[in-house]
Amino acid sequence: MSDKTFDILNKIFVSIIVLIIVYPLIFVISASISDPAAVSTGKMWLWPVDITLDGFKMVFQNKDIWMGYRNTIIYVVVGILVHLVLLLPCAYALSRPEVRWKTGILWFILFTMLFNGGMIPTYLVVKNLGMLDTMWAIVIPGALGAWSVLVARAFFQQNIPNQLVEAAKIDGASDFYIFYKIALPLSVPIIAVMALFHGVGLWNQYFSALIYLSDRNLFPLQLILREILVLNEMSTGEGVQEIAGSAGSFADQVKIAAQIKYAVMIVSTLPLIMVYPFVQRFFVQGVLIGSVKE
């Protein structure tokens, strides 16, 4: 096989895989703005048919989705702050040569990567701390992982020159001051990467909310989505009920329900889709920093 044939075959192979991966995404986008009848009968299979924004209207009239959205935004913002407050000082301190027992401290942190108490003991700890049914159950457990500490520490080691810190110390700066005024401003890239990774994780997670929260008013978006998309509990929001109810026959309601589903997928993933092209580079870098074998 000549190199040219290989190139062509390879391009075809990659194209097929890309198409398989992209097709469901395009379908969801098209289905969310198409006439539900065309979607449910299979007339719409690639591009939108009889464009309508009813699905989105119904989604925006749903109080539960708004509430979930609001809760998720709060959890993501607070969760990122908690993550950074725990992570950055620790990673910086571990990057300093003067810190003693460093091997021990690092093993203490790494050990949590290999073993954990499992779902139930962790749940009991959270429960005994009185965190059940509070925002803290979502933002604090899981706020820090050994992997982030290692990545951030590697960054500090490579990017904060020791001479700089020593010079500041001779000038009388305290360690707190150096960390806050010198190390942090020099570490904006790693702070951004860590915040993004953690934020995406928080945005997408449903399980900790499922086990720690029972108060509906605290539910994050993903739990509301679970009801709508997976459990098929469509009649939760008043807006949906009214519109779906006025649509008449049962068959119509089923079709409209399907359209709401597609719209809701878009609405819930939209923030990530919008930032994704800009931050993809950072994510890739993050994965790679983490994989550099020390």
């Binding site: 096989m1 290989f6 390879n10 990659v14 194209s15 895989i17 890309v18 991966i21 379908f27 969801v28 299979g42 299979w45 725990l86 000082p89 620790c90 003067e98 810190v99 003693r100 027992w101 460093k102 091997t103 401290i105 203490f108 942190i109 949590t112 139930i120 003991p121 962790t122 749940y123 009991l124 700890v125 706020a143 290692l150 590697a154 360690d175 707190f176 945005w203 997408n204 399980f207 989505l225 679970r226 998309l229 997976v230 098929n232 089923v254 399907a258 589903k261 997928m265 819930s268 993933t269 990530l272 889709i273 092209p277 993809q280 890739v284 994965v287 994989s291 550099v292 074998k293 020390e294």
Partner: protein, 328 residues
């Protein structure tokens, strides 16, 4: 993916050594006081994270002992009465034990079988010349990684709907009859594993692509001069070059062997497909969180972790035997 297995660099070992030598010259205690007095702020910076790890990682590890006890809330982890292996025996003797174990193992092995797919895709992507096509292929295939598991399962549910779903429309278009995939236990594993591939195939190539970027171009050039075809160059240069990465990732995969994306299983599970979708982790969730049998479910979870550790250690041992690469 955490690839760094945490050996501390030489520099630090030296630093601690120097510090230790230093301590010998003067009185050890005095030296420490002086060191701590001058550097207490650095240690203070460590404290929030250390406290966090103690509370949310080490106390739960300590709490695993309730697997051998009857946990009573107001007696705590330590004070609850000891019952030995009672919970384990109950689990091993139960009629669902073999079903849970079988389902967990089959699902894990199925996932493991597809381990080469991201490697193949990475090799193919690497062969593309730089340009828009390559960049777009990467951007588009990475995208599903960012979709939440709830939305992915929502898409599966919508696509597989027996009346309105896309997949059944396609089947009917080609003259087949529509099926209810999600309530059929025979389909559960395929749906779970292949939807996972859809989501992670592109993202899984990142590490391999980075490894491929490090292949010595002179080697490839020399092979070309010697008349090796593209395929031969891939087989004899690229694949051997990324072998260490493949082995390390394979072992890490084995480390998560039993920890299959159980949150997704939980979402895909229903009464009708539970014959194949009941796995150990979902069982722990049901008995522990929903039914409140804390000690019993902790024992079941511990059993799962034990298998996991055994698999990880054996995979590492095997890797060290057959290749020169291993985690430790």
């Amino acid at each position: 993916m955490p690839l760094c297995t945490g050996t501390v660099q030489g520099g630090e070992v030296m630093a601690t050594k120097n510090a230790a030598d230093h301590a010998l010259t003067t009185s050890r205690r005095q030296n420490f006081k002086k060191h701590f007095g001058a550097n207490w702020q650095v240690y203070a910076l460590l404290m929030p994270a250390i406290t966090y790890f103690i509370i949310f990682n080490y106390i739960p590890m300590y709490g695993v002992q309730i697997a051998f006890k009857d946990y009573i809330a107001n007696l705590g982890f330590w004070g609850s009465p000891f019952v030995g292996f009672e919970h384990f025996e109950r689990f091993f003797d139960s009629y669902y034990f073999w079903r849970l174990l079988k389902n967990t193992l089959i699902l894990s092995l199925y996932e493991l079988l597809l381990f080469p797919l991201p490697i193949i895709f990475a090799l193919a992507l690497h062969e593309l010349s730089y340009g828009k096509f390559k960049r777009w292929s990467q951007t588009l295939t990475y995208a599903p990684h960012f979709i939440s598991v709830v939305v992915v399962v929502g898409m599966i549910v919508a696509f597989l709907d027996p009346i309105t779903g896309l997949v059944n429309h396609i089947i009917e278009f080609f003259g087949g009859t529509s099926q209810n995939f999600l309530t059929d236990p025979n389909w559960f594993r395929h749906i779970f594993v292949w939807s996972g591939q859809w989501q992670s195939l592109g993202w899984g190539t990142i590490i391999y692509l980075a490894a491929l970027a490090g292949v010595n171009p002179e080697l490839l050039e020399a092979a070309k001069v010697d008349g090796a075809s593209r395929l031969q160059r891939i087989m004899h240069i690229n694949i051997p070059a990324i072998m260490p990465t493949i082995v390390v990732l394979f072992i890490l995969n084995m480390g998560n062997f039993m920890a299959i994306g159980f949150q997704k299983v939980l979402l895909l599970q229903n009464n009708l497909n539970s014959e194949t979708s009941d796995i150990i982790a979902t069982f722990v969730y049901e008995t522990g969180i929903l039914e409140g049998q804390y000690s019993f479910s902790t024992a079941v979870g511990l059993f799962e972790s034990a298998i996991n550790i055994i698999v990880l250690v054996s995979a590492n041992y095997l890797a060290r035997k057959v290749s020169d690469n291993s985690l430790w």
